[in-house]
Amino acid sequence: MTQGKDAATPSETRFPGQHALEQQILRAGEGGLELVGSRCPQCEAAYYPPRRLCAKDLTECESIALSTRGTLYEATQIRIAPVGFEAPFWLGYVDLPENVRVFVQIRWNGDGEPRHGAAVDLLLETVRTGPPDVVGPIFTGPV
């Protein structure tokens, strides 16, 4: 097994941001920023956040851009904000077709509340105000 740099997020495709979150889960793709996961070429298992070795067979994983449309698993409205955030805001888990579940912020533009099963689309925008501001995944709906 080669022991190079973290293959799940090759340095040449990394988002140029300085923050650990951006370094770990974003990359600059041809069409703009992408949310990054990893996939095992041996058993097809997908992971988020990306990991270098497959948890099942320790094969070196490939970096993949994750789907931009997913299904809301569940969400909650945060009413007491941690430092760097402004309440109220929504957090949630979104299931993606790659069979990964991502923890993200939710921006709900429709009536009522975001509910289990809703289709949602990915935005990569500021998730935390700094300094420095941090860019990360926000899923928005209704689609």
Binding site: H19, E74, I78, I80, V127, V134, P137
Partner: protein
């Protein structure tokens, strides 16, 4: 197990916010109480195990908390094991002490757990959960996880906000009967629902408070039990520690890790969940206690809300839960919680729990589910004690 292990003594401090008290002082008080309760001299202690989770970032003491408290107690030269294992640091120290005796290596072990969360040395960023750095940058905190879990449980099983609130009402009622919890005033369902919202649908009174404290247990082997007197000893029927499974795409309303840990504990002890008379579970949130009823087998999946509203977790019920007040009223000083649970269950099995005594308690359970790693709970401990 190669040999039976017994809890001979327990001790704990009052839990609360004590900015003026140090971890060494808290640990010393709990350990001395356990030695006194056991009737064991400090020089008889053959091994010391100390659990704490956040003393590095908060008190500037990453290593050697066990040696520090040992020094306070005049316990030196013996092996000291320092344990850091998320919320389960205290119950893990219990398990290490148990293994030290079961292996035949030692006969008398002192397990200590301590934590001080109300203040910190120096300044720094807010605490995030170890293992959730990516999520922390998005605003993650444990209430957000359990807020989602609550919504899912309500959706799937019809669990109500009132049923969740009844957990706090029950645990506060128990707390009033114990000298140790931080919050001992009774509350009503209406007050829980009207409290400040934290992460929908959870309010402040659905969440455990910030707390400091320490607890300790003195464990002995079967070989030396006769020397000290068997009278108030409680037998360790099982102590199981498992770590996370880390399957992210799962039903959030059940912790597979806890199901596996408790199943292993019941098998080890040769009993079933129906035999458990009294339990201290990881009720960091009201909905967590409800889910733990289900995962620990006290009731069927989805029945947790009814389990509390029908009184099954109250005194005289199938399994009285959180008679010591639980995390919801004591607070959750991470390293201390697991041993505070052992303290309460030991009191119950001895018949020394006073007004909060579960009638004829013969088997007790303690449970901690601690930490997060990539979206899953990172560690789980289940201890079964019996008389």
């Amino acid at each position: 197990m190669t040999d039976d292990v017994h809890v001979l003594g327990v001790g704990m401090t009052k839990f609360g916010r004590f900015p003026e008290r140090s971890i060494r002082e808290l640990g010393r008080e709990a350990a001395l109480a356990a030695l006194d309760d056991a009737g064991v001299e400090k020089d008889d202690v053959g091994v010391l195990v100390c659990g704490s989770a956040r003393t590095g970032i908060l008190q500037g003491r990453e290593s050697g908390v066990g040696q520090l408290i040992g020094w306070e107690l005049g316990i030196n030269s013996v092996p000291v094991y320092n344990v850091k294992n998320y919320c389960a640091s205290g119950s893990t120290s219990f398990d290490v002490a148990r293994m030290a005796i079961a292996s035949g290596e030692h006969d008398v072990a002192l397990a200590i757990g301590v934590e001080k969360l109300s203040s910190r040395v120096g300044k720094g960023a807010a605490l995030t959960s170890d293992g959730m750095e990516v999520e922390g940058d998005l605003g993650f905190s444990p209430p957000s996880y359990f807020g989602m879990l609550a919504r899912r449980h309500m959706d799937l099983y019809g669990t109500t906000r009132e049923q969740m609130a009844q957990v706090t009402v029950k645990n506060r009622r128990f707390a009033a009967m114990s000298p140790y919890p931080q919050y001992r005033d009774p509350v009503t369902v209406e007050e829980v629902l009207a409290a400040k919202p934290v992460a929908e649908p959870l309010t402040l009174l659905d969440c455990c408070p910030t707390s400091d404290g320490a607890a300790a247990a003195l464990l002995v082997s079967e070989r030396v039990l006769g020397r000290y007197g068997r009278g108030r000893a409680v037998r360790v029927a099982a102590s199981i520690l498992h770590s996370g499974i880390y399957d992210q795409v799962k039903d959030m309303t059940t912790f597979d890790l806890d199901v596996g840990t408790s199943t292993a504990a019941y098998e080890r002890a040769g009993i079933g969940p129906g035999d458990v008379d009294v339990a201290e579970v990881h009720d960091a949130f009201t909905i967590a206690e409800i889910v733990h009823y289900e995962d620990l087998g006290f009731c069927a999946k989805g029945e947790g809300g009814n389990f509390v509203s029908e009184g099954h977790s109250d005194l005289g019920g199938k399994t009285a839960v959180a008679t010591g007040g639980g995390l919801l009223t004591r607070g959750h000083p991470l390293g201390a919680t697991g041993l505070a649970q052992v303290h309460e269950v030991t009191a119950q099995l001895r018949g020394e729990a006073g007004d909060r005594q579960q009638p004829d308690a013969k088997v007790g359970l303690t449970h901690v589910a601690g930490g997060f790693l990539e979206g899953d709970i990172a560690t789980s401990t289940v201890i079964l004690l019996s008389r």
